[in-house]
Symmetry: C2
Subunit: 356 residues, 2 copies
């Protein structure tokens, strides 16, 4: 029997409750598909600051590295907002991405058929369906370049460095091309090559690599144009490939267009099979501990984990199907619609298990 060691980073706010439901579901599919899961837990973000005085204790890095995969709830909250940058919960998130080499961030923005009416876009704009996969570079660019303050013309200047090496662009582009091959073979590479040198190298490198993927239809869009196109014609996109900062902005925009932010999962992958999986929504401190959070994005993150890290595609698909089935009748408050059953966070977890 296959055995997997999963490190849980429950995090802050609603993190613990949603991770608990995802674990429940993971145990159910493990049972059904005949594998075993062992869990370890570690601290990240605010809870780590409170307990250890740092958002990313070394122990957390060690435990993650020793695991087959990592499931994260969410980090952050007003309690830690006044701390200086490097000591904040988000620093833990950036730190773990770097420490585990999680260079590829996959953020699907999909509209779930039963939740179609939740999109802020008009029906005729959405069209038949929305199913965009944003592939965001996650351990390079302006997030990890040199930054600081210096004197310039007798005053203070702050600076950050956007930077990409050819090898960094190649490895993320490879992920995107492979992804496109498994989907509709359309890849949109997003940059600002009319201004940025890093974008020009990005574009050159992607074009060079496209020779290895003759079946993939590649096009290039500027980031400003992409921000527009997502709003007026999101259906044109299959896979979007972009850098760290543009990916941050565009993946959030794309997820909002789906209208189902409480439903969206994400994966952060490394060179090995070790990945980190998390819902794209935040820690929602205002509703923490009330058992009303929507655990489906975290449950779907487990499905991504089964697909990309644990090589259990059938179990992944089973979860996705179960979620769709449950959604037809049952809703947590954030996605509630008249005529449906209003359920709690833990009830939602139970329902998905039952549907499996």
């Amino acid at each position: 029997m296959n055995k997997y060691n999963i490190c849980l980073l429950k995090g802050d706010g609603i993190g613990p409750e949603i991770v608990n439901e995802a674990v429940k579901v993971l145990d159910c599919v493990a049972d059904k598909y005949g594998f075993q899961v062992n869990y370890d837990e570690a601290l990240l973000g605010g809870s780590a600051i409170d307990a250890k005085g740092t958002p990313l204790p070394q122990e957390t890095i060690d435990k993650c590295k020793a695991s087959d995969s990592v499931l994260l709830g969410a980090v952050g909250g007003p309690k830690w907002d006044k701390l200086p940058g490097k000591e904040r919960p988000e620093a833990g998130l950036l730190g773990i991405r770097g420490a585990l080499g999680l260079f590829a961030n996959l953020r699907p923005a999909v509209i779930f058929e039963p939740l179609k009416s939740a999109s802020p876009l008009k029906d005729e704009i959405i069209g038949d369906k929305l199913d965009v996969m944003v592939v965001r570079e996650l351990t390079g660019g302006i997030y990890f370049g040199e930054r600081g303050r210096r004197e310039a013309d007798g005053e203070v200047e702050a600076y950050d460095t956007e930077q990409y090496k050819v090898s960094e662009i190649k490895r993320i582009a490879k992920v995107a091309f492979e992804m496109a091959m498994k989907r509709n073979k359309k890849l949109t590479s997003v940059d600002k090559a009319n201004v940025l040198e890093a974008s020009r190298l990005w574009r050159e490198t992607v074009i060079e690599m496209s020779k290895d993927y003759p079946e993939v239809e590649l096009n290039h869009l500027y980031v400003d144009n992409t921000a527009m196109q997502l709003v007026i014609n999101p259906g044109q996109f299959d896979v979007i490939l972009t850098n760290n900062i543009f990916g941050d902005i565009l993946s959030d925009e794309a997820s909002m267009i789906s209208g189902s932010i409480g439903m969206l999962a994400s994966a952060s992958l490394s060179d090995s099979s070790l990945g980190l999986y998390e819902p794209i929504h935040g820690s929602a401190p205002d509703i923490a501990g009330q058992n009303i959070a929507n655990p489906l994005a975290t449950i779907l993150s487990v499905a991504m984990m089964l697909k990309y890290s644990l090589n259990e595609p059938k179990a992944a698909e089973a979860i996705e199907n179960a979620v769709n089935k449950v959604l037809a009748e049952n809703r947590t408050p954030d996605i509630y619609e008249e005529g449906k059953n209003k359920v709690t966070c833990s009830e939602m977890g139970d329902l998905v298990c039952k549907a499996l």
Copy 2:
């Protein structure tokens, strides 16, 4: 009688035809409000490349500097897309911004009542109205920082530098605070202070300055969150203040949400009264020379010029009112709706003049 010298940069594609209509309208209001306008013309972008071998001839800079204000059509087109970065039409645009010190870019995103149905967002998302003013820093940040290629770990690395000095942040923040005072006294400063040092200095400086504007309600949003909020609740914004690159992305997103990109004007202001005014849409080479382009964004750019550079607020208002009146019945093809008059570019100019 007041006399103004206007430098026209007609540019490429539909540029010449839309500028011609805007000049027509400017002559009409000049007549009516008792001032005189003299025109000079200069080359920018593709047309300058063709005639002079450079997208921004020195003569163009000189003529602009000698004028009271500059009206630009649009630059660019597929003909020049293959040229290297520095020789492309866009380089002319960036160059003129720098040469004239146009540090403040104002991009209003409004929904014109008669065009409300054109927004891609659902009516209930738009709510009563959309009237956002994006104030974008235009001569600093990653657009103007050092860039290049270098060797790193034995391979090529490309880099760009995001950078802001306190004085640069102060002068653009001042524009935004003053703007908010004249509008609904709400200012949203957008940054990525949880990651970027330049954003942290940005935020500190804006907070410091807010003491001089106690009536303005200031809040801070991360750029990724702003990209989301624009899609799900654009009505929350009054004035948005942001840096060059985030402003590029967010102002385009905001303008698309209005659904009226053919209608939106922009102003780029300097320390003096000299400003550059242009529609936010592009040069639309596919429809150039057919007399079907929508000249209203350029006509409304003239209204902005009258307001911000020429201190003729009554003439500005007259143009805005005339445009609204004409829109009720008449439409160019891009904004055509059943039951309205379909008119050409030049007819639209005539109609606005008549309505004045």
